[in-house]
């Protein structure tokens, strides 16, 4: 019996320590953070767009976390200042991401404010960025002979529309673009209370 108890308590204690460190302490440290004055809650349409972003797994290729200069040239690439916990208070689920098969999108709205560009780029990325390996999302668009009332016609580069037809954005595509346009965190970061981003210790950064 002794061994079973050791096994159960050992398993519980070791997992407990890990949970305290990685779940509970961050919870305590972050829970009272106030949103910056310039960060607006998402509108309903932006939230729908965010749902499209989630449904189609954009997070698997795009991060939303520009890092400090000491970690890489994120700022030099125009992706924005290093993000802080307060930037994410309205985010559920978080979409920090772990891959950069494509660029960071934390400030894509500031970098690329044009809805036309976004719609066309979603329809066929390679018409805008030669060599891009981003998937095309034709299922977010419809082809029609002529525009009906309320249709948003996508202005594609020549040769991209099927002959004799125009390309119309679906509501999902419009929502997604609204969300992307809202990705603008160019306001100054508040001085973090606890210096959440520490530069690596001496000599560790390359």
């Amino acid at each position: 019996m002794l061994n079973e108890i050791k096994l159960a308590t050992g398993a519980a204690v070791s997992l407990g320590v890990a949970t305290a460190a990685l779940v509970v302490l961050p919870y305590i440290q972050v829970k009272d953070i106030q949103p910056p004055a310039d960060l607006k809650p998402y509108t309903e349409q932006q939230l729908r767009g965010r749902a499209v972003y989630i449904a189609n797994g954009c997070v698997y290729c795009h991060s939303q976390q520009p890092r400090d200069r000491s970690h890489g040239p994120d700022t030099a690439r125009g992706w924005g200042r290093a993000s802080v916990p307060a930037d994410y208070v309205f985010d559920q689920p978080h979409l920090l991401g772990t891959m950069r098969t494509g660029p960071d999108l934390f400030n894509i709205g500031a970098r690329q404010p044009s809805a036309d560009w976004h719609l066309g780029h979603l329809y066929q990325p390679r018409a805008y960025v030669p060599g891009s390996n981003m998937p095309a999302y034709p299922f977010l668009f419809k082809h029609k002979a002529a525009a009906e009332e309320g249709d948003v016609v996508v202005q594609l580069p020549p040769g991209q529309d099927p002959p004799g037809r125009i390309t119309v954005a679906s509501q999902e595509a419009l929502d997604l673009v609204k969300y992307l346009q809202a990705m603008n965190h160019t306001y100054p970061a508040m001085a973090p209370i606890q210096a959440p981003i520490q530069p690596p210790q001496g000599g560790a950064s390359q």
């Binding site: 890990a18 449904a55 698997y60 950069r100 999302y137 390359q206």
Partner: protein, 553 residues
């Protein structure tokens, strides 16, 4: 700042203290070797007997003939006095678990085929982005996620459960208590996986890596795990051995861990923002570190000595490995967020613990090398051993790579690149899946009382998988590293980091195709066996072979 340092030191000290407390509590004979503990997997007189049910009788005899006499246990080779009652116990154990194990293996095979096909499509899409774009469920973001969930929860978890449910009763010399509950749990689990994959395909996702399955469906999966844990604990209570073999520690602890991890990580409405990110990776890495890794290591600790008929070299080292893994692995998840907007102490803690993971890995590799000393050549004869040895080596490789990858200097290059993907497959495939394949090859003949119809298919599977994952990991690691260097250089446009990965992404598709092909071979073979194809039925459920070997030289 101060509180951060204190919490960092606190968690670290607590792990070290906890570790020493547990080592101390196991102190009896820690410095003296413990051959009795290591030998509990053998019946009396069984040491020195090789055992691989995946082999035909004549191949078994060849395996036995080429096994060097086990030092110190040479007597047993001639003594044929295996305890008949212990043998009968083992037959009873196997019978009690046969149905649930068969069910888990069948589900695992199904998800393996589906998951690898999805993975291959996702791989091709990264270099052929205009292929199959008309349907939402086939778009990269969804098919990649279908792949991950099908292989993580479908294939690997089902196969892990099969191993646990099959080996535990053997190690405890008892019957599996509550087999119908285990099967009910397995059904709920797989119903949850099916529903979850359907939801992801339709675009209904919780949106976090490893936690995509909507929490409403997670209830099914959690209920499934809980229904499996309870009979397992009950079986543990009914044990008829004095000593808990090290694999029991690994199996039972990991089953408790995954159930709790899964519950906490999926709690709806609790986690937000940055804290949700740390929880996400606490779960994501612990699914690997506290579920798949301990189960696979426990599997090696049972099957490898069993096949070569020689107890684990250093039993105490294996226990040390268990407790260091338990205390260090749980806290490494933060290394997925290095440089991110999370508290600095958290990533530092995770980096430190990632490096500490070297200890259990070294303990394991010394042990594996010692146990196999002079017997490596047996892998030529025994498919189970070949898979296990390959998996064991890759465990060492992937863990060392993981520890290095967590260092800030290395992480600066590899973070956000395909290098991480290659590393994940080195761990989940070259290590975990290969070990699980080996275990299935050993278990199935005992579960079904039927021989593998075509042993050459086992070799074919091994070489397809081993070659495939070799191409996969080598190519993608190089590509990922170059990608990382390109991204770090602000003078090179971003698109350069995309362009230069193309040849490596293509090599990954080739490797992935070989692996998928191997899985086809594996699953067809399993089905042939289940449908009673093939030449012969095994003569006896267990151990026809030791009786024959006395006539072989």
């Amino acid at each position: 700042m101060d509180s951060a340092v204190i919490s960092l030191l606190g968690a670290f000290t607590l792990s070290i203290l906890g570790l020493f407390a547990f080592i101390w509590s196991l102190r009896q004979g820690l410095l003296v070797e413990n051959p009795r503990g290591a030998s509990v997997i053998f019946a009396q007189g069984e040491i020195g007997q090789v055992d691989d049910p995946a082999l035909t009788a004549s191949d078994q005899a060849r395996l036995q003939a080429s096994a060097a006499p086990t030092d110190g246990h040479a007597a047993s080779h001639t003594g044929r006095s295996m305890d008949a009652r212990e043998m009968q116990d083992r037959v009873d154990s196997d019978q009690s678990s046969a149905f649930p194990v068969f069910m888990f293996i069948m589900f695992a095979c199904f998800w393996l085929v589906l998951g690898s096909a999805a993975g291959w499509v996702a791989s091709v899409k990264l270099h052929e982005p205009d292929w199959l774009t008309q349907y939402a469920w086939l778009s990269f973001g969804r098919i990649r996620t279908l792949h991950l969930n099908a292989v993580i929860y479908g294939w690997s978890s089902n196969a892990c459960l099969a191993v646990i449910v099959w080996v535990l009763p053997r190690l405890l010399r008892t019957r599996l208590v509550g087999a119908p509950w285990v099967m009910l749990g397995g059904s709920l689990l797989n119903a949850g996986i099916s529903a979850g994959l359907g939801a992801i395909a339709m675009g209904w996702s919780d949106g976090m890596e490893f936690l995509e399955i909507p929490w409403q469906i997670d209830l099914l999966i959690f209920a499934g795990f809980a229904l499996i844990v309870l009979p397992v604990l009950y079986t543990l209570m009914n044990k008829r051995v004095d000593h808990l073999y090290v694999s029991v520690w690994y199996f039972v602890a990991s089953l408790l861990w995954i159930t709790l991890l899964f519950l906490v990580a999926n709690l709806p409405g609790v986690h937000t923002g940055v804290q949700q990110a740390t929880t996400n990776w606490w779960y994501g890495h612990n699914a690997l570190g506290l579920w798949f890794t301990p189960v696979s290591v426990g599997t090696i600790y049972y099957f490898l000595p069993k096949v070569i008929g020689r107890p684990v070299r250093s039993y105490n080292l294996s226990l040390l490995g268990f407790w260091t893994l338990a205390f260090f692995y749980g806290q490494v998840g933060g290394h997925h967020l290095i440089g991110g907007p999370v508290p600095g102490w958290l990533t530092t803690l995770s980096i430190v613990q990632s490096v500490m993971m070297v200890i259990p890995v070294i303990a394991f590799s010394i042990n594996q090398a010692g146990t196999l000393k002079g017997q490596m050549h047996l892998a030529r004869y025994s498919p189970t051993l070949r898979f296990m040895m390959f998996g064991g080596l890759m465990y060492v490789a992937s863990s060392i790579e993981g520890s290095l990858e967590a260092l800030r200097t290395v992480n600066a290059v590899t973070h956000f690149t395909h290098f991480t993907v290659a590393h994940a497959h080195l761990g989940m495939y070259a290590f975990v899946s290969m070990v699980l394949f080996g275990a299935v090859y050993f278990m199935m003949p005992r579960v079904l009382n039927w021989e593998w119809p075509h042993p050459w298919l086992i070799s074919l599977h091994f070489w397809l998988s081993a070659t495939g994952i070799g191409i996969y990991v080598v190519g993608l690691s190089i590509g990922g590293w170059l990608q990382g260097l390109a991204m770090l250089d602000a003078t090179r446009p971003f698109i350069e980091s995309v362009n230069l990965t193309m040849p490596y992404l293509k090599s990954r598709s080739i490797g992935g195709a070989l692996m998928t092909l191997g899985h086809g071979v594996f699953v067809i073979h399993v089905l042939m066996m289940a449908l009673r194809f093939g030449p012969r039925r095994t003569t006896a459920a267990l151990f026809k072979f030791p009786l024959q070997v006395s006539h072989a030289q």
